[in-house]
Amino acid sequence: MNQASLKRNYYGYLFIAPFVIAFLIFGLYPIYNTIALSFTDATLMSKTGNFIGLMNFERLFADDIFMNAVKNTWLLWILNFIPQVGIAMLLSVWFTNARLNIKAVGVWRALFFLPNLLMPAAVAALFFSLFSFYGPVNQFLVRSGFLPEAMQFLQDVTVTRSLVIFIQWWMWFGQTIIILIAGMTSIPLPLYEAAMVDGATSTQMFNRITLPLLKPILIYVFVTSLVGGMQMFDIPFLLTDGRGSPSGSIMTNNILMYLKFSSSKGHIGAASSVGVLVFFMTSICALAIFYFLREKDSATSKSAKR
């Protein structure tokens, strides 16, 4: 019997084999290939490029457009992430508050999440239309007297950036609410009851109970949002002309990579180096956050057990 079950466990390899094979072919090799290409001057026209060492990377670091794209990507991500978590946190606290007893939490939550499922390409095109010169927003503002005449919203740096940030917020705060509510409702109620008996205020309870126990979930939200945010493409690409206009203000890492890829010669070597740099930047930041906060977290839970 034992012999049989040992033998049977080899079936595990058969079950995971398709995944492993597909990962090697479609996951690992492309990563290797991208890294290899980033050291060459390969173009779409040439079959193989020449090895040029770190030249692509040196060029990128000397290139204002690249540095600007990295800066923009971080700016657009951070300015969307802070209000996203802030508002989601506020709403989640309200939704889970027994005293407020908000009705139909499930319905509110489901409606707030809806934008997340919509096609980002369509959302970008929608906001492009809404905020275009003859679009409904201009109509509304002019007719109600807020603006003397229609405005070219998408030629203004601040408006365009704010719009990208707003759209990202609009698409993601609902998802964050669902995650935070799930986290908050998994916190044992007796903790709050005991705190209430001790006369704690709701602010104290939030700071001392909710926030610390929510930490692993906040890390999860933080890391997944960072990984996604560094790859921001559809919204800024389709909101204006696909080159980060006005004046490169919404040019992101991935748009730059795409522009290098789609340039007339198709500089896939240079495009790969953008991909590789962003890949490492994101992975290092994500792993650092993960590792750094995880360690601290397990240390506190150990001391709590004692």
Partner: protein, 281 residues
């Protein structure tokens, strides 16, 4: 004292509902305008904002067709890619997850940790190497390059593993073995039916992700007959459609309405799926 407390709570409740309604308006109005404008003519749209549908739906469709934008074909292409992606993702993710959950093979722990790392790694950034490799294999401009990589869908396997851990019944599997069922037969005939709710959640996410995927399709697919909806949406921004607002909104609405319908039917699977991905036990 007590009355004062109650009064404050009520005041707060009113304030909360007002905030919720404002956020709801911000959330829903752009989507509603999109759907309504798809049924209005360009003249009507230019005359002003309206929240009531009009009667120019087919006219708008005709304008799109007249400008060479075949919305029906794009819809069909997107549907094909999304359905194939869903089937591939669900089947192979459950297969992999089942292998991890049921068998105690050497390296199992390492493999499941590796999957968690893969979830965090942004695959999109290896797209250039992927493109060049696919063009060597002759798979560019071919849906296979969009669908086959999903055999190794780490996020979905992670979800599947979490799910199967809660539904797998080892006694049932052993009983089937005694009856002479093969290992793969047990997976197909006993595991799959048990895993239907989890597979639904997994499938909905796979469908939505494939349906909305713009970047990969944009890089890998080049011939217009193979364009999926997000790629057609991208062409809608061109000069040809500059003044045809009604037609543009229709093009966008077609991408969005099926997803809203799916959501209306299956929202509980989606909400529980997101919550489950983040909260472990």
């Amino acid at each position: 004292m007590f009355n004062n407390y109650k009064f404050n709570t009520n005041l707060m409740r009113v304030f909360v509902y007002i905030v919720l309604v404002i956020i709801l308006i911000v959330t829903v109005v752009p989507i509603w305008l999109l759907i309504v404008n798809a049924t209005r003519s360009t003249v009507e749209i230019q005359q002003g904002i309206s929240f009531m549908p009009s009667t120019h739906l087919f006219e708008n469709y005709g304008i799109l067709l007249g400008r060479g934008l075949n919305l029906g074909r794009g819809f069909g292409n997107s549907l094909f890619v999304a359905v194939a992606s869903t089937i591939i993702t669900v089947y192979f993710s459950l297969l992999t997850a089942y292998g991890i959950v049921v068998y105690n093979f050497k390296g199992k722990k390492l493999f499941s940790n590796f999957i968690v790392v893969l979830v965090m790694i942004p695959m999109q950034l290896s797209i250039i190497g992927f493109y060049q490799y696919m063009s060597k294999l002759g798979l560019t401009d071919n849906y296979a390059s969009l669908i086959l990589p999903l055999i190794a869908n780490a996020g979905s396997v992670f979800f599947g593993k979490q799910y199967l851990e809660s539904v797998v019944i080892n006694d049932l599997i052993d009983a089937a073995r005694v009856d002479g069922a093969s290992e793969i037969g047990i997976f197909h005939r006993i595991m799959m039916p048990l895993a239907v709710p989890g597979a639904m959640t997994m499938g909905i996410f796979a469908f939505v992700a494939a349906w909305n995927n713009f970047f990969n399709a944009f890089i890998l697919i080049s011939s217009i007959e193979k364009y999926t909806l997000p790629m057609l949406v991208q062409t809608l921004r061109g000069d040809v459609y500059r003044t045809e607002f009604g037609a543009i909104y229709l093009g966008l609405a077609v991408t969005v309405v099926p997803i809203i319908l799916i959501y209306a039917l299956f929202s509980r699977y989606i909400v529980s799926g997101i919550a489950m991905g983040s909260v472990k036990e």
